[in-house]
């Protein structure tokens, strides 16, 4: 019976292990710059010993993984996922103006991006949800949120 050919390896099967190994190499290099303690103060092991042992183990496991259990991706990355990650970036940028403004914009934008078209519902997502959560945490849990354009109105 003819053997079925193995599926062609995707570029991720090399890229992901390469990224892990690069990360470990960079971290290992950083460990070489840790202070070395004199024998009396080192308490059993040097600060760099355990991280180095661990990073070496991760590299070995990654190499074994490449050989016997390579990374495979079943489906392509959806555009909606990338769009949602882009909304994370927008959220991160808006936090410099105000955390709750960023949350309001994100909540309404995500609902709209995922298919919600009713304006009233979008308004509830963008206004009522963040405001309700703000007052719940500010008044019940006594959490003080970072100052910003909107939170200053309440705090001052």
């Amino acid at each position: 019976m003819p053997r079925t050919p193995e599926p062609r390896r995707q570029f991720e099967s090399w890229l992901i292990p390469a990224l892990i190994i690069l990360f470990c190499a960079a971290a290992f290099w950083l460990t070489t710059m840790f202070k070395t303690m004199p024998p009396v103060l080192k308490r059993g092991i040097q600060p760099s010993d355990f991280p180095q042992l661990l990073l070496a183990a991760i590299v070995v496991l990654t190499l074994v993984m490449m050989w016997i259990d390579p990374v495979r991706v079943k489906e392509k990355l959806h555009g909606t996922t990338l769009g949602t990650i882009a909304l994370f970036v927008v959220f991160a940028l808006l936090t410099s103006i105000d955390l709750f403004l960023a949350l309001a914009v994100f909540a309404a934008a995500l609902a709209a991006y995922w298919g919600e078209r009713r304006v009233i519902v979008l308004a509830v997502m963008g206004l009522v949800v963040p405001v309700a959560i703000f007052f719940l945490f500010d008044m019940v849990f006594e959490i003080r949120f970072p100052r910003g354009l909107l939170t200053n109105i309440w705090y001052e």
């Binding site: 259990d69 489906e75 949350l103 909540a107």
Partner: protein, 499 residues
């Protein structure tokens, strides 16, 4: 006997009772919502328990754990989508039953089996945890190091990732635990001069990220999936004939689930799979499984709920999480300044028993809620994802911030969420990452203490019987499955040639 009674007396507090009732309802709602599960629910709620006393705080988290694990059956039966991974096997027979117009019967059996499994496991927890703690009381650092290593080795078989990828994810989790000032030598490691990194990477924001925000991204890629809900008329208690058919299965699965739960890092998902398989293996009508066998629902649900109590045994007695949700509860214990481990049963025995009794109460509460409110809870499955997940995101961000009132934690949660999504996409489970982050510092600390104790002669660890025993268990956990597969491969050609 005093701590047992004191723990029970704690439940007399109306505030605690009200919180437990609310948390049980919340847990059932979380478990019924597709995409949310006990781990995500506990991770999201953890920051909001910080202002509470330890007993109500941890009782809330355990209530979420027990009730959400049960409620996964609601979506499994009604929309063929397991609310939690542990309910995946419930779909196999629950949904065919619902399609035949017997959704009420299937849910009734799920409620009864879950309650019996849950109560059985809490009883085992009450007996086993103090015994295990007493056995571990005289452990020295080398034994603890070997035990923690064994707990981490069990990560290989956790989640849906491959063993190797799980170990790599666990290793990365341990690595992230090393960021900050070294506890043993006070040397700064990987801080890059950042003040926020001095204290290390907080495990609560990471958990919110990998369990909550990464799930949001997973949901983003499944927006096109249409879910078909089966209508349910009433929810009935199983008939006498159903009980006759299933009582052995329920008891067997309760035992299996509790045992699997006790194994470090093995949780309800593995328990439900084994419980279901055993129910099929022992059944007189195995051909009915997958087509609507009531024993299948009973086997799966009794096992997954009994794993909740089992998973709390190593969590409380040894400080090693028995499952992903137990890892979040362990994080909650540590955030509240409690020290899980043998000392808990001598120094904080009242607290431990209060948690046990509250778990028992929650199992009874969701029995009534399941019977009376399943129809209502089933409606939560209809909440559109485009409304649910923005709310989850807002809660995640505010929760991450609330812990230390620091924007740095918000960034950690956000980055962990994206990292967790890509890890899941490439087959790496995020559960080992979270558990590695919790246990990493402990592992290094115990290695250091062992080295001091053994005058830096690490090989002497192998001369200690208990340490050696845990090392052997670690080796078996890591290499046992591969060796068994290799052995099976070696035997199979002989069999085929014989045929």
């Amino acid at each position: 006997m005093d701590p047992v009674l004191n723990g029970l007396m704690a439940l007399g507090d109306p505030y605690l009772l009200a919180l437990l009732l609310a948390a049980t309802i919340g847990g059932v709602v979380i478990g019924a919502l597709p995409g949310l599960n006990a781990t995500t629910g506990a991770a999201l709620l953890l920051p909001f328990t910080l202002t509470m006393e330890p007993v109500p705080a941890i009782a809330i988290l355990t209530a979420i754990y027990c009730s959400a694990t049960f409620a996964g059956a609601i979506t499994a039966i009604l929309i063929n989508t397991p609310g939690t991974a542990a309910s995946a096997t419930t779909c196999l027979d629950g949904y065919p039953l619902a399609q035949r117009g017997e959704a009420g019967r299937a849910l009734g059996m799920a409620v009864v089996a879950s309650t019996i499994g849950g109560v059985f496991s809490v009883l085992c927890l009450m007996l086993a945890a103090p015994l295990l703690a007493r056995a571990a009381y005289n452990f020295s650092p080398p034994e603890y190091f070997a035990l923690t290593l064994f707990g981490l080795s069990m990560l290989a078989s956790i989640g849906d990732g491959s063993p190797l990828k799980n170990l790599i994810a666990g290793g990365l989790g341990i690595f992230f635990a090393l960021v900050g000032v070294d506890n043993l030598t006070t040397v700064e490691r990987f801080t890059f001069g950042s003040y926020e990194l001095y204290e290390g990477i907080g495990f609560v924001p990471v958990m919110i990220g990998v369990f909550g925000i990464s799930e949001l991204l997973v949901q983003a890629s499944s927006l096109h999936i249409q879910r078909k809900t089966v209508q349910m008329k009433t929810i009935d208690l199983p008939s006498r004939d159903d009980y006759r058919k299933t009582w052995r299965t329920i008891l067997r699965s309760s035992g299996i689930g509790t045992f699997i739960g006790i194994l470090p890092a093995e949780g309800a998902t593995v328990a439900s799979m084994i419980g279901y398989n055993e129910a099929k293996r022992w059944s007189r009508n195995p051909e009915e499984f997958g087509k609507g066998a009531i024993e299948g629902v009973a086997g799966s649900e009794a096992a997954n709920n009994s794993a909740t109590g089992g998973a709390m045994v190593p969590t409380l007695a040894l400080g090693i999480p028995g499952s992903a949700t137990a890892a979040v509860i362990l994080a909650g214990l540590m955030v509240h300044g409690l020290r899980p481990g043998p000392a808990m049963f001598t120094e904080q025995a009242d607290f431990a028993y209060a948690i046990f009794w509250s778990m028992m109460l929650v199992n009874i509460l969701f029995f009534f809620m399941g019977l009376r409110g399943a129809k209502l809870f089933a409606r939560f499955t209809l909440i559109p994802v485009q409304l649910l997940w923005p709310c989850v995101f807002v809660f995640s961000i505010v929760g991450a911030y609330a812990l230390d009132q620091s924007m740095f934690d918000v960034w950690v949660a956000l980055i962990s969420g994206v990292l967790g999504f890509f890890m899941r996409r490439y087959g790496f489970s995020v559960v080992p990452l979270a558990i590695g982050l919790i246990l990493g510092g402990m592992l290094e600390q115990r290695l250091g203490q062992s080295m001091v104790m053994l005058n830096e002669q690490w090989w002497l660890m192998f001369a200690r019987p208990l340490t050696l025993f845990f090392f052997v268990l670690t080796a078996l956990a890591l290499f046992g499955p591969s060796l068994m597969r290799f052995g099976a491969k070696q035997r199979s050609p002989m069999k085929s040639s014989g045929e």
